[in-house]
């Protein structure tokens, strides 16, 4: 009999301005306390504390130069807060980059990767179905727009 068993691990990233860098640890501690109240445990690594996991909206060009596309795409995933503004900041920076399409394509790659996570543990046969049939449909439905300009237009039409 198939029986669900939800996991209790919570992975988070923080997004903000440079002034938040000094507050990462305390912010993470607050989230950790609240998470414990609802039966969740913050991940030991992806808990928002590390500066290397922080998307600094004041340093988008630096993230781009360091090829941290996994961080740049964070606001385009499941996010809470001033998400539209964060997306706009990222998109405007990408659009002015000389290799904007290459940057955007790299971000889209990481976004698609995020969609492959956590389908659960299945039999090998059904895992293959997930990989071959379900995942492509999921990516097709939720992938980023083809260009950063399209993404910016979509942001303004929401």
């Amino acid at each position: 009999m198939e029986k669900p068993n939800a996991a209790t691990d919570l992975d988070i990233y923080f997004v903000g301005c440079a002034s938040m860098l000094n507050g990462l640890s305390s912010a993470s501690d607050i989230v950790e306390r609240e998470a414990q109240h609802v039966g969740l445990t913050l991940d030991g690594e992806l808990n928002g504390k590390r500066a290397s996991n922080f998307l600094d909206l004041d340093d988008v060009s630096g993230h781009t130069a360091r090829e941290e596309f996994n961080l740049l795409v964070l606001p385009f995933q499941s996010a809470f807060g001033n998400v539209v503004a964060a997306r706009r900041t990222i998109l405007k920076a990408v659009i002015t980059h000389p290799d904007k399409q290459q940057v955007w394509d790299e971000m889209a790659f990481y976004h698609a990767q995020s969609l492959s996570l956590h389908h659960g543990s299945w039999s090998p046969a059904f895992s293959d179905v997930i990989l071959q049939r379900y995942y492509p449909e999921k990516v097709a439905k939720f992938e980023l727009p083809a260009t950063p300009e399209e993404a910016l237009t979509a942001l303004f039409t929401k």
């Binding site: 997004v15 002034s19 938040m20 860098l21 606001p75 996010a79 001033n82 503004a85 659960g120």
Partner: protein, 81 residues
């Protein structure tokens, strides 16, 4: 100082017809996969969402420069059978 905007951007729920051409799906598995789309719209499991949402809202308002919390892995979708 203007109040910060708080949006929760969510992946839309899947149209069940999107899964119609995967014949290998049993009703239980189909329900799970539909659910995994729905649950991607949550930062955490639905029952924990309200509590954490309130916490994030206060946190974002109180920490200078804090804009968003991003959760790329959604616990509720990590289901083992």
């Amino acid at each position: 100082m203007p109040e910060k905007q708080t949006d929760v951007l969510r992946f839309p729920a899947i149209d069940p017809s999107d899964l119609a051409n995967i014949p290998e799906l049993t009703p239980e598995r189909k329900a799970f996969l539909e659910g995994s789309y729905l649950e991607r719209s949550y930062l955490v499991a639905p029952e924990a969402q309200d509590a954490l949402t309130a916490s994030f809202s206060k946190l974002i308002s109180s920490v200078p420069g804090f804009e968003c919390v991003v959760n790329v892995e959604v616990p509720q979708t990590e289901v083992y059978y």
